[in-house]
Amino acid sequence: MNKKGDANEQILQTVIFLAVLFIFTLLMAYYVQQQRDGVIVWEDFYAKETANVINSLNAGDEFVLDVQKATEVAKKNKVDFDKIFSFDSDKNEICVKLSAGRKSCYSYFNKIAFNSEMKYGMPGNLLVIKAGKSDSNG
């Protein structure tokens, strides 16, 4: 039996298996990172977070929401910043669009007039929501 040959073969096998394992690990890490940066996850988060903010507004309130991550995802997907957040006062819903495809919408129940404004580099990008002075819906 040629023991040297066997040892070389085993080393070669081990190296190949380790290389395959390393490539596999890299692929899994890449996939997990892609999911974390997912458009749908962040649209879902910002739509619900903004709706919750609006639901808790009282007359005269001002709320500032950090939307830096939303703008990063939108920029990656070539979406204009002024198209990220859209408010429909007829349907009482907020829609968030972070990609060229569909957008995610969520309704709020608070009947209050408010306006919204994006502010950039404050540092970071912010969404400012200001409730009207009275509770009437506008």
């Binding site: 039996m1 596999f24 692929l27 879902d44 009482n92 129940f109």
Partner: protein, 150 residues
């Protein structure tokens, strides 16, 4: 040395290893997809906001309880609640001294055990307080889910 035999042994051994990686990969991909694919569930928060809004509306005297029965518009208007959104995505019940004075859909499902994690049942919030000499109970539940539209 039986080279054919060893060749078969190596192929099978390598195949087993690759199968193991494949099973592991499918498991990881599946778990991650389920985790990140699941919507954030904030129905409980919404239900709490609704029940607090109604409670504050009553305690601040914005609405007269005796005028509510049969007069839903009055209730929604005085408490600043959008009627279309409430009727579509919420269940609401208001009781005064155990008697229903406002009811939007059936709030019985709010009493079921273990349904708060089930998206087909509302996630609910209950508030009990006193207004004057009356005991008031407010139950609010949300069934809203995110909508993907073009």
């Amino acid at each position: 040395m039986d080279k054919k035999g060893e060749m078969g042994n190596q192929v099978f051994g390598g195949f087993g290893y690759l199968m193991l990686l494949l099973i592991l990969g499918v498991g990881i991909v599946g778990d991650v997809a389920i985790f990140y694919g699941k919507d954030i569930d904030c129905r409980g928060v919404e239900a709490k906001q609704m029940s607090w809004k109604i409670e504050n509306c009553i305690l601040q005297g914005k609405v007269e309880l005796d005028k509510i029965p049969g007069n839903e518009d009055y209730f929604y208007e005085k408490c600043g609640i959008n009627r279309a959104t409430a009727e579509k995505y919420f269940v609401i019940g208001v009781k005064k001294d155990g008697q229903d004075i406002f009811k939007l859909k059936d709030t019985v499902s709010c009493s079921f055990e273990g349904t708060s994690n089930n998206l087909y049942f509302p996630a609910c919030s209950k508030e009990r307080f006193e207004e004057g000499s009356h005991e008031i109970e407010v139950i609010a539940g949300s069934i809203q889910q995110i909508r993907r539209v073009s």
